[in-house]
């Protein structure tokens, strides 16, 4: 079961903060699906996940400037 986190209504810094906290509360191997907007979140959230050693499995556009990021802890 993967957890879904919608940060499309969030602004800096809560976009990063919510992703970080969600991942920290998950077990290794679990999957997090993040919905985020283009611009700052799209440019930096996936890279920040990878920098913390999490695996970015997919990143695709859902339309209307919203993207779906799939990260495995």
């Amino acid at each position: 079961m993967s957890k879904i986190l919608d940060i499309t209504k969030e602004t800096c810094p809560m976009t990063f903060v919510k992703v970080k906290l969600a991942l920290s509360r998950m077990a290794t191997g679990e999957q997090l699906v993040v919905h985020l907007k283009e611009g700052e979140p799209l440019n930096n959230v996936p890279a920040s996940c990878e920098e913390q050693g999490y695996h970015v499995e997919a990143l695709r556009a859902l339309g209307d400037g919203v993207h779906e990021l799939i990260v495995r802890k």
């Binding site: 209504k9 969030e10 602004t11 800096c12 810094p13 809560m14 990063f16 903060v17 992703v19 970080k20 906290l21 930096n44 920040s48 920098e51 913390q52 050693g53």
Partner: protein, 159 residues
């Protein structure tokens, strides 16, 4: 793995807007894999008081008067256009409306992320504050030498 990047923020100001700036940088840095220390001194200590409104903390008449006038987390003034304390409340409403994290939300996030919080020993001494007057998130009451040692290989920001 390389060592984590470190960031230290000196929170000298007790202005509502500047405290928000400090917490925004702190939580953003924690969330992007940095180690963050916030060192609160002088006006900044108001943010850490358990009593969030005005309270007569202190050990003598002068320190009690100062602490009452300096207030707590809920009475932080805006650095400009404060209008007797109305503006911070209006600002908080505007932040909520625009989905921007408010100060209580940022403080809670900082705590959840594990930002290290230090209080300045010297400023507390002047103001007659004890560690038990401050919130539990305060890890320790330290002096400038400890802060500098902890920040040896960190970027330091003064707000």
């Amino acid at each position: 793995m390389t060592a984590k990047k470190k960031l230290s923020i000196v929170c000298f100001s007790g202005d509502y807007d500047k405290v928000i700036a400090a917490y925004t940088i702190a939580t953003g840095a924690m969330a992007t894999n940095r180690e963050v220390t916030m060192f609160f001194t002088f006006w900044g200590l108001n943010v850490l008081k358990k009593q969030q409104g005005r309270s007569w903390l202190g050990k003598d008449v002068l320190s009690r008067a100062f602490n009452f006038l300096m207030g707590g987390r809920n009475t932080l003034p805006l650095s400009r256009l404060n209008f007797g304390g109305i503006s911070p409340k209006l600002m908080q409403g505007m932040m909520k409306k625009n989905h921007v994290a408010t100060l209580p939300e940022l403080i809670e996030a900082a705590s959840a992320l594990g930002v290290r919080i230090y209080a300045c020993e010297m400023a507390m001494h002047i103001l007659g504050l004890r560690q038990e007057d401050l919130v539990d998130e305060v890890e320790d009451v330290v002096g400038v030498a400890t802060f500098l040692n902890e920040s040896e290989d960190a970027h330091i920001i003064f707000i």
